[in-house]
């Protein structure tokens, strides 16, 4: 067990990435994720890595494509408007089957929106964002410790499946400080025979490309990719259950709102309301099975989100609309209070 340090969420992502063997970072500053870049700018020169502040988000993601093609671990980070700019490149990474870590420390939108925290890029992260048939693995940390551990996990999954893993945090997760243990002894490495490392005239050259001239070939490529996605949905789902054994009401929340919800659930339990929570840690693949199982036991669901109701669609699909799903939300940079969530739990939990 490594000694603990006190870190901002953004710094924890940066240090964990370095520990995971990522020595190439390309980014562009934007509140509230700027500390990722600031931390990288201090650390990378000391370890012989690359920190590069690109001229734009578009340039940064294309530099990520370049390094990813060589098989080296690489990342970029931004906040909502910057991730929109990077979405084209993320689609190209998907089309080239390249591993990379993309971090989104969300702020309120749409447009320039604001700098305060938000979860309104759920659709963008889990349903594409860029064009074409593809998925990202989307990880939603709910503590500074998870900002670190899911960053390591993200690099692992990205390499394992040759695709983009995304850390979907929010401004509060990025800015808040908590003790964290940076014990990353479980870093895995993968053979990358596809990488552009130079043939030395000893093998056929590799090609990294997302353009297919024959539609038949492109169709096969898409089918193959979705076989891979199916395996990920089978094997890589992560979630946390909280007080679900006897729960009659199931709260579903990820990231910062799951912490607010936990406080509300504890208060509701003290009042005798049987309420629990399923916290998706992977937003894609989404924890469909535990939610479907909860739908057989619970009478209702409450989604707590900092958006106008995005994850709620996936919850309704997962439970096949078997039970009512209610929304408890704040938007525009506002965070729901435990009292607001408690009021919703009381309203739903008391409605026999």
């Amino acid at each position: 067990m490594a000694d603990k340090v006190l870190m901002k969420g953004n710094e924890a992502i940066a240090e964990a990435a370095i520990q995971a063997g990522c020595h190439h970072y390309f980014g562009y500053p934007i509140t509230p994720q700027t500390e990722v870049a600031a931390y990288m700018s201090k650390r990378m020169p000391k370890i012989g890595g690359t920190f590069l502040q690109a001229e734009s988000e578009v340039a940064a993601i294309n530099m990520v494509i370049g390094v990813a093609s060589t098989g080296k671990r690489v990342m970029t980070s931004s906040s909502s408007p910057g991730v929109s700019l990077k979405s084209e490149g993320i689609s190209y990474l998907a089309g080239c089957d390249l591993p990379a870590l993309v971090v989104n420390v969300q702020r309120g939108g749409p447009g320039l929106g604001g700098i305060q925290p938000s979860q309104s890029d759920y659709y963008q992260s889990t349903k594409g964002g860029g064009h074409g048939d593809y998925h990202n693995i989307v990880l939603a940390p709910a503590s500074v410790q998870e900002m670190a551990s899911l960053t390591v996990k993200g690099f692992d999954l990205a390499d394992k499946y040759r695709m983009v893993a995304m850390i979907l945090a929010d401004g509060t997760m990025g800015q808040m400080m908590e003790p964290v243990s940076l014990d990353v002894s479980d870093v895995k490495t993968y053979d990358k025979p596809w990488a552009l490392t130079g043939t030395e005239c000893k093998r056929e050259h590799n090609i990294v490309n997302s353009l297919y001239l024959q539609p038949e070939e492109l169709e096969i490529k898409n089918f193959e990719r979705y076989e891979k996605y199916k395996a990920i949905e089978e094997n890589e789902v992560m979630y946390e259950e909280y007080l679900m054994d006897d729960a009659e009401v199931c709260v579903v929340a990820f990231g910062i709102t799951s912490r607010v919800a936990k406080n509300a659930i504890n208060e509701a339990r003290a009042k005798g309301i049987k309420v629990g929570m399923i916290r998706p840690i992977t937003l894609w693949p989404f924890p469909k099975k535990p939610l479907a199982a909860a739908a057989d036991k619970c009478k209702a669901f409450i989604c707590v989100e900092m958006n106008m109701g995005q994850m709620i669609d996936d919850v309704e699909l997962a439970i096949r609309c078997k039970k009512p799903v209610y929304l408890c939300n704040r938007v525009g940079g506002m965070i729901p209070s435990p009292e607001e969530v408690l009021a919703k739990i009381e309203e739903v939990g008391g409605a026999e």
Binding site: K4, V5, L6, M7, K8, E11, E15, T31, P32, E35, Y39, K42, G108, G113, G114, I115, Q116, G171, T172, Q175, M176, M177, E178, P179, L182, I256, R259, V260, N263, G333, I335, P338
Partner: protein
């Protein structure tokens, strides 16, 4: 306690400057002085002196803060009242400076009048549990960057070594030698060692210059 007219808190970002500045302002006020606290942070968009606005108002401490603090406006703006407050010698002032050299640049434009009056204390806030100031060498690096950026020299050190909610008495005691080493390397005294109020009774006889903190926080 003996106060200078102007007290400045600077240091690495996330070292605890804002929280200490707010607690220090309460202490000056409680000792019977007219007190002003100024938020000079142009770096941090989230956790600000303004989060304690209600408590400061209730205590009769004037808060000077950018009108954009804690809003959606991402401007590194300074409060307009800052010049006349620094020049108004009837008040005691606590200045909460932004993190690192980037945050300290803003102090540069006020440094001349503060230096001229020469009745100030400039604290370097240090925390050995922050990875970029975990040892003497890296702490000195940050200190020098700040001094270069603002054109002022530190006069004393605040040891705020902590691990947030998980801080134990042993963590604080274990940080004393680090603070001493920073003190020796810089020639500056460690005037305060800050601890959370809940550790105060346990540590008050063991730590010189102990200063208890009541934590301000935005969310649970």
């Amino acid at each position: 306690m003996d106060y200078k007219r102007v007290t400045l808190f600077a240091g690495h970002y996330g070292s605890g400057k804002t929280n200490i500045a707010v607690n220090y302002a309460f202490k000056i006020k409680a000792d019977g002085h007219e007190t002003v606290i100024a938020d000079m942070d142009i770096v941090n968009p989230y956790f600000r002196t303004k989060d304690s606005e209600k408590e400061l108002n209730e205590a009769g401490i004037r808060l000077i803060s950018s009108e954009y603090a804690s809003s959606n406006v991402d401007l590194p703006s300074l409060p307009q009242d800052l010049y006349n407050v620094i020049d108004d010698k009837s008040n005691y002032e606590v200045l909460d400076i932004g993190g690192d050299d980037r945050g300290a640049y803003a102090l540069g434009r006020y440094a001349e009048s503060i230096l001229k009056e020469n009745d100030y204390e400039m604290f370097m806030v240090i925390n050995k549990f922050r990875p970029l100031t975990k040892d003497v060498e890296s702490t000195l690096e940050v200190m020098n960057e700040i001094q270069t950026a603002c054109g002022m020299k530190f006069t004393a050190i605040v040891n705020n070594s902590n691990l947030g909610d998980e801080t134990t008495a042993e963590d604080v005691l274990g940080s004393l030698s680090y603070a001493d080493d920073v003190s020796k390397a810089t020639g500056l005294p460690v005037k305060m060692t800050t601890v959370d109020m809940k550790l105060y009774n346990e540590l008050k006889d063991e730590v010189d210059g102990i200063f208890p903190l009541t934590l301000q926080r935005k969310i649970r």
